[in-house]
Symmetry: C2
């Protein structure tokens, strides 16, 4: 595996692969890799001739008071993990390399970004779409892999790709969980032992919602209320949002029908965690 | 020459050329072609193996009350002109093809868009950068050609290309003028005969500024004042702006030094015309 830090060098390699007709799979990450990231990389590896991953903690997608400074970074730990997962090139640019002096261009998706994390993190998705657009132009992948834990992010990027006619296939990969149900996240490292236990309320409440739907419940308000009650019963948890929206547009639902996304953001102590499940009802 | 109306078809062709290593030159236009456009096309023709031009009157770059509806359109006139100028593929998408239902993604350059036309036409450059980004992704050119009459547009697009790491070279082409000095524009067709005469005040006032600089004048305010006075002396002309700014950032100037852009927007009757010249002073 080769580590590349220069945009110019990464782009020159990508240009060569495109011209040589070599298929490229790309896994953009913010590093501190866990099994979720590695699953994306292994999948990219099996579906493409060349696998590129990036590690870049993107300041543009963090709001004021969020955890940009604290976000865990450890390239010495990440590099061998990426290599073992089959990554050929690990792109690790600096902030200055990605946003040089005078930087002033932004990509914005205006609708599917409104609710959920877009509502509680203003500017977050503008940062995500801008950096992903840059990374796509630098790496020129045929396929890009994103974890479904950030389901809204997947929908936002799909929308950007479709709207701006980008020539890349977006491939979402199911959430990877610990044995006890906790969705993997680089932010789990923030959790104290008792918070780690409390955090299980996210996946448990999603399971409860799935059971309700299996039992025939079709009213979004009833399902959301049950989920909220479960989370509120956990003293260390504070709800940021509990939303049940239609896929793929993430618009409000009157009644469960087709594919819906039940998405949560919950603060466990100071740590904001997200999780989700797709509820499917035959129409 | 082949006329293409489908995004998908255009993109499939472009992908083939890229893979085949064929260089592509691209001239995006809003049609109603004049010698300025044709100069861009002929230049693209000499510098690339394949020449693509587009004709698309982009609603996104017109403001409320602007001339989107009236903007002249005549594909039957344009197609043979483009073909004679060496265009291989003329891409002519519909508005629905470019902005299908649910469209919601925009590209924005925030600084170099602030003054000049950006100030008098809010949202204009957001429309320009969005459509150019789409066209670049569809046509995948190696080089794209833009007329220098829209000097700010050239700088905005260069900035977007640099910031978003696009793999395309932006080539500005000098303004083409009528024998009497009027800069060519599709909007010149709006001018009544006496307005056509009055419109010469734009190029004449730019010439006057060049003379002042040749005579040693270095104060932007003095130069702008002289230009304004000349334009104000023309009864049919109404100044939108007269600006003298630094290149390439279009920031204000205290003193002429290096390359500066003297840019005008002037209403002649109901027709808004723009023109400019580069004033160069050895530092």
């Amino acid at each position: 595996m080769e580590i590349i830090t220069s945009v110019r060098e990464m782009q020159a390699l990508a240009r060569k692969w495109r011209q040589g007709g070599k298929s490229t799979g790309f896994v953009p990450t913010m590093g501190y890799l866990h099994e979720g990231h590695l699953t994306l990389m292994r999948k990219a590896r099996t579906e493409n001739e060349i696998t590129v991953a990036s590690i870049f903690v993107n300041p543009l997608q963090f709001g004021v008071g969020e955890d940009y400074e604290e976000y865990p970074r450890d390239l010495e730990r990440d590099a061998p993990l990426a290599e073992a997962a089959g990554v050929d090139y690990l792109f690790v640019p600096t902030v200055r390399e990605m946003y040089p002096r005078g930087y002033q261009t932004f990509v914005e998706v205006t609708e599917v970004t409104r609710g959920l994390c877009g509502a509680s993190r203003p500017g977050h998705f503008r940062g995500v779409t801008t950096v992903v657009m840059k990374l796509f132009n630098i790496v020129k992948p045929d396929r890009a892999y994103f974890g479904w834990k950030d389901a809204q992010q997947v929908q936002v990027i799909r929308r950007m790709v479709e709207d701006l006619n980008l020539d890349v296939e977006i491939i979402p990969v199911p959430i990877v969980r610990e044995a006890d149900g906790l969705a993997l996240s680089s932010r789990n490292v923030y959790l104290e032992p008792e918070e780690r236990k409390a955090a299980l309320v996210l996946s448990r409440s999603l399971k409860r919602a799935e059971e309700l739907v299996a039992q025939g419940e079709r009213q979004p308000e009833v399902i959301k209320e049950q989920v909220k009650q479960m989370i509120e019963a956990e003293p260390l948890a504070q709800i940021d949002y509990v939303e049940l929206v239609a896929l793929p547009d993430l618009t409000p639902l009157e009644q469960l029908q087709g594919q819906a996304l039940l998405a949560l953001a919950v603060r466990i102590g100071k740590t904001r965690l997200i999780d989700n499940t797709v509820l499917e009802v035959e129409g």
